[in-house]
């Protein structure tokens, strides 16, 4: 009994010391600016194998904060969080990070997370505290839109009933129609054969691709869903597609669900000039390996992230970034989307400060300010948000197989 009291006292004392330390830290770090400090947090997987994905956007946020260190008298600082455990993004770790951010009243917004499953775990945590979050890379449509197959529903992720989550990547529902437009307008392939891996993502993009093809006057000549675990032979499907006059094959699948194995098996059935199309799930080296020596220039995939480097107006910005951030992982596909998210947040915080009469704005005011973002022109696109938090015109990029790797073809804005 005696001992227990002793240890309880020790714990209390420990807490008191920590609290005191925190209390002391606050005024000293806020000393640089007149009105106080506003923290922009970022949450990406930045250690281990996932560092290749997560460090880019983190560097983008750091760069944006570096360029905008002071807004209307408030000092802006960047606090990075890492959601990787053993090198792999972890929803639980993400939720812990967000709990920490929520507890820090100076944090007025978060850029991240990188992965849709981490977003699923962290949106409710931020939502309860009205903390705004903007993701550069989440594409899962169920994060913002309600479809019958969504579990959990977007409403369940937002316990307060008020949206606090925004993203600038196009949701997965946009990829299929975008590729359908590309197929008909650019490739002139109006008769297509479509297959899917029968999973949520794959079947979703395949269905949306087919719908748009038909809406544009094209024809889906064969439509099949495979149990990819037990299917190794795609030849009957391919033969059927050929006999029906298919001018292109669309794979609603990822490399992990045999997305590009039919491409290898097409060799003895189709000539190599028949395009093979798919979502971002096939846009990796595994797909190229699986396609074998039938990996040709007629393979295309869509990607929901815009490439900042494609716009000549961004050249000075990118050069400046490269001069300041020199690590190998700093400049990745999502560096400038991350930068843009931070810019959206900074812009919104500026307007929220005005709304608060020049004082520290509340988190609710920042959420509202992000929602009110209208036509903000940034490095990867021009952004406004709909009521779900999706970008009203996201950018879709197209990639083509060329000389051993995927290379950029073009990108354009797609409405929803």
């Amino acid at each position: 009994m005696h001992r227990r009291w002793l240890s309880a006292t020790a714990i209390l004392a420990g807490i008191a010391i920590v609290a005191a330390a925190c209390g002391q830290a606050a005024p000293s770090s806020g000393g640089g600016a007149d009105k106080g400090e506003i923290i922009i947090a970022s949450n990406f997987p930045t250690s281990g194998a996932d560092r290749a994905s997560g460090r880019g956007p983190e560097a983008g946020v750091a760069y944006a904060v570096q360029l905008n260190g002071n807004i209307k008298g408030f000092k802006i600082t960047h606090k990075p969080y890492d959601d990787a455990v053993n090198g792999v993004h972890d929803p639980q770790k993400g939720a812990q990070n967000f709990t920490d951010m929520v507890g820090n009243t100076k944090v007025l917004g978060v850029v991240g997370p990188f992965n849709s499953n981490v977003a699923r775990a962290t949106i409710p945590v931020a939502n309860r505290a009205s903390l705004v979050m903007i993701s550069p890379s989440n594409t899962n449509e169920c994060l913002t839109q309600d479809f019958p197959y969504c579990d959990p529903k977007p409403a369940a992720l937002r316990p307060t009933g008020k949206n606090n989550y925004f993203r600038i990547a196009a949701p997965d529902t946009v990829q299929g129609p975008a590729m359908a437009d590309f197929s008909i307008d650019t490739l002139k392939a109006t008769k297509v054969a479509v297959w899917s891996d029968n999973e949520t993502f794959g079947k979703g993009v395949a269905d949306n691709f087919g719908k748009r093809i038909q809406a544009k006057g094209g024809q889906v000549v064969v439509r099949q869903d495979f149990d990819v675990k037990s299917t190794n032979d795609f030849r009957p499907f391919l033969q059927r597609a050929k006999d029906a006059g298919a001018q292109a094959i669309y794979a609603g699948a990822t490399s992990a669900t045999k997305g590009c194995i039919p491409r290898a098996q097409m060799k003895s059935i189709f000539t190599t000039d028949i395009p093979y199309l798919g979502p971002d799930g096939i846009g990796d080296t595994q797909c190229i390996k699986d396609a074998g020596d039938n990996a040709t220039a007629n393979m295309y995939f869509t990607n929901a992230a815009a490439e900042a480097a494609q716009d000549p107006a961004n050249k000075a910005l990118i050069d400046d970034f490269k001069a300041k951030f020199t690590q190998k992982e700093d400049l990745g596909a999502y560096t400038f989307p991350g930068y843009d998210c931070a810019k959206i947040l900074l812009d919104a915080i500026g307007r929220a400060i005005d709304l608060a009469g020049g004082k520290m704005p509340t988190r609710d005011q920042v959420v509202q300010a992000v929602q009110d973002t209208k036509g903000l022109k940034l490095s990867t696109g021009t952004y406004s948000f709909d009521k779900n938090g999706d970008p009203t015109s996201a950018t879709m990029a197209f990639y083509q197989y060329k000389g051993g790797d995927w290379s950029f073809v073009k990108q354009f804005s797609v409405g929803q």
Partner: protein, 350 residues
């Protein structure tokens, strides 16, 4: 005691006669006929060349399933054990031959000539022998010490062996799909508008040659006779001076040799493999063995062909999301009406 023995004899004779009644058999025939009518309708709509093309794919598919199924059925026939590790031995065969192909100087996209054909034969033989040795080792380590243990014990070690091999394959080439080099030429000959590809011919010819060789081996050789005797009555075979351990080991060896050949053909034909391939492919091959009548090598060959044909035709003519459902529905119906499988009746267990 007498009544129990009598009951068992009755049950056996019932099984041998292959059915639980005329009506049920008639029902099966009726279902097959209905499906046949539906299929014929579709075939008519799609045209003859498409039918021939799908048939070529189906036979190649079936040949590969049949080769795997033989290993299941032989082992079951001789020691009444479902060798769950067999599918993984097959997957090991795909991995091994994929690694051997570059070693023997074969590469994707090179011209196919007598030299490459010879190298490919060497790859086949090495893969088959290594798979055989692997399966014999599995038998020695995990099954032989448990031969007289209760039935469940070796069943569990078989499951364990399956997972063990899967783990080894995972460590070997990782979780992703493994691309298998496309060595065989994609060319083919035109027959009535369908293309009979070199790949289909190679797969089918090798499968048929191996199956005929196996049938002759079991039928004509001393070891084959010993295998049949051991399958029928192990104790009696022992009394007749047959080396039981050696005979059983030989059975495992031959079964795995066929799986090794099947694995190489699988890779050459589908150009892909993955560490857990043994589970799904093994499941269907085992289904084929049961479908044909487990323990019967002719049944396994027919069952494998049958499953390949259902799969390809369903993918080609109907909705492929239903392919697995259809295969297992047919399996269930067959077993309900004919508990011993298609061939379970005419030939005694082997």
């Amino acid at each position: 005691m007498g009544t129990i023995g009598e009951a068992i004899r009755q049950r056996r004779s019932l099984l041998r006669s292959g059915g639980t009644g005329l009506i049920l058999n008639a029902g099966l025939v009726l279902l097959v006929a209905l499906f046949g009518i539906l299929l014929i309708q579709r075939i008519y709509d799609q045209g003859a060349s498409f039918f021939l093309q799908i048939l070529a794919f189906a036979l190649a598919n079936g040949g590969i399933y049949a080769l795997i199924a033989l290993g299941y059925t032989m082992v079951y026939g001789i020691i009444e054990l479902i060798n769950f590790a067999h599918g993984d031995v097959f997957a090991f065969g795909t991995f091994l031959s994929a690694s051997l192909i570059p070693i023997f100087g074969l590469a994707e996209g090179q011209a196919f000539g007598p030299g490459t054909a010879l190298a490919l034969v060497v790859v086949f033989v090495v893969t088959m022998l290594v798979c055989g040795v692997l399966n014999v080792s599995i038998e020695r380590i995990a099954y032989r010490p448990l031969r007289n243990a209760p039935r469940l014990a070796p069943l569990i070690t078989a499951v364990g062996m399956s997972f063990f091999l899967e783990g080894v394959l995972f460590l070997w080439k990782g979780p992703s799909n493994v691309h298998y080099p496309d060595i065989l030429p994609s060319a083919g000959v035109q027959i009535f508008g369908a293309t009979l590809g070199v790949k289909e011919v190679v797969v089918l010819v090798i499968a048929v040659v191996l199956m005929v060789a196996l049938a002759l081996f079991v039928d004509r050789t001393r070891l084959g006779k010993a295998m049949r005797a051991t399958a029928q009555d192990r104790d009696a075979a022992l009394l007749m001076g047959i080396d039981i351990d050696q005979t059983i080991a030989a059975t495992f060896f031959i079964g795995a040799v066929l799986a090794g050949a099947g694995g190489t053909m699988f890779g050459l034909y589908y150009n892909t493999s993955v560490f857990d391939l043994g589970f799904s492919a093994g499941l269907f091959a085992f289904t084929a063995a049961v479908f044909g009548g487990i323990g019967n090598i002719y049944g396994a060959a027919i069952g494998g062909m049958f499953i390949g044909i259902i799969r390809s035709f369903w993918d080609g003519y109907f909705d492929s999301a239903w392919t697995d459902v259809v295969i297992f529905a047919i399996l269930i119906l067959t077993l309900v009406f004919r508990p011993t499988g298609i061939m379970g009746m005419r030939v005694p267990e082997k």
